[in-house]
Amino acid sequence: MSDVKPRVRVPKTAEVGEEIEIKTLIRHPMHSGRVVDGDGNTIPRQIITSFVAKFNGETIFHVDMKPSVSANPYFTFPFTVNESGTFEFIWTEDTGEVFTLSKKIKVE
């Protein structure tokens, strides 16, 4: 799906030991499989089932989702940074398709 688009907001810089807030959003319909379109056909289930946030290769946070999570799944969560590095964000759809985004942070 070409219109699925992840977005993440992470501060560019932070101080050692600072707790930052990470905001993530992925544009996705989260079709629950319970909605009928205008022609009376059920829209097949298609949801993001998993969101993983990693920092320098280590998983820091992950969420398992069901259809009760709203369209365009949005999360904010904290992270305490102690070193510069790269965040990697991974969303997995129930079709097996994977969407990723990475962000760097400079810690001084």
Binding site: E19, S32, G33, R34, V35, F55, E58, T59, I60, F61, H62, V63, D64, M65, K66, P67, S68, V69, S70, A71, N72, P73, Y74, F75, T76, F77, P78, F79, T80
Partner: protein
């Protein structure tokens, strides 16, 4: 057969019998079945352990005009160290067709245990948040959200 043994047998039979009647009576009422489903999930996760109250602050609107996008913020009052931290936070919606909403898995590296998301609510109902700690203890909070226009939750 002693009297106590006989009593035990009958009581077990009676529980099984009334249990079955209870379930068949509840099934036609989807709302009650969903409330029971959440209670059963919580017992399944906690294995019947004690659940602390008051450790989770849960921020949701009292009235949601649009059930498609209802804000949920929770914060669990707990240390986040390698020795003691919150492992998982489960969110349930007891009036949705699928009562499981999401499971948030935390790590000590996060520094504190809080998160925000948006969820669907198909109608007025209770939202339950259950936290599982690294030491095997549990905490819970719940709130009622009145929904004006239901989201196609599912």
């Amino acid at each position: 057969m002693s009297k106590t043994q006989w009593m035990k047998l009958t009581r077990r039979d009676a529980v099984a019998f009334f249990g079955a009647v209870g379930v068949s009576a509840v099934v036609p009422w989807q709302a009650e079945a969903s409330v029971d489903a959440v209670a059963a999930r919580i017992v399944e996760i906690t294995n019947g352990a004690d659940i602390a109250e008051g450790l989770i602050s849960l921020d949701m609107p009292e009235i949601a005009e649009n059930g498609n996008q209802v804000n949920l913020t929770f914060e669990v009052d707990s240390p986040m160290t390698a020795e003691e931290y919150v492992k998982s936070v489960y969110v349930f919606a007891d009036g949705n067709p699928d009562t499981d909403v999401a499971v948030f898995n935390f790590t000590p590296a996060m520094g504190s245990c809080t998160a925000t998301t948006r969820m669907r609510l198909s109608k007025t109902q209770n939202v339950h948040v259950l936290a599982a700690m690294s030491d095997g203890s549990f905490a819970k909070a719940e709130t009622t959200v009145k929904v004006t226009i239901g989201g196609c939750g599912g």
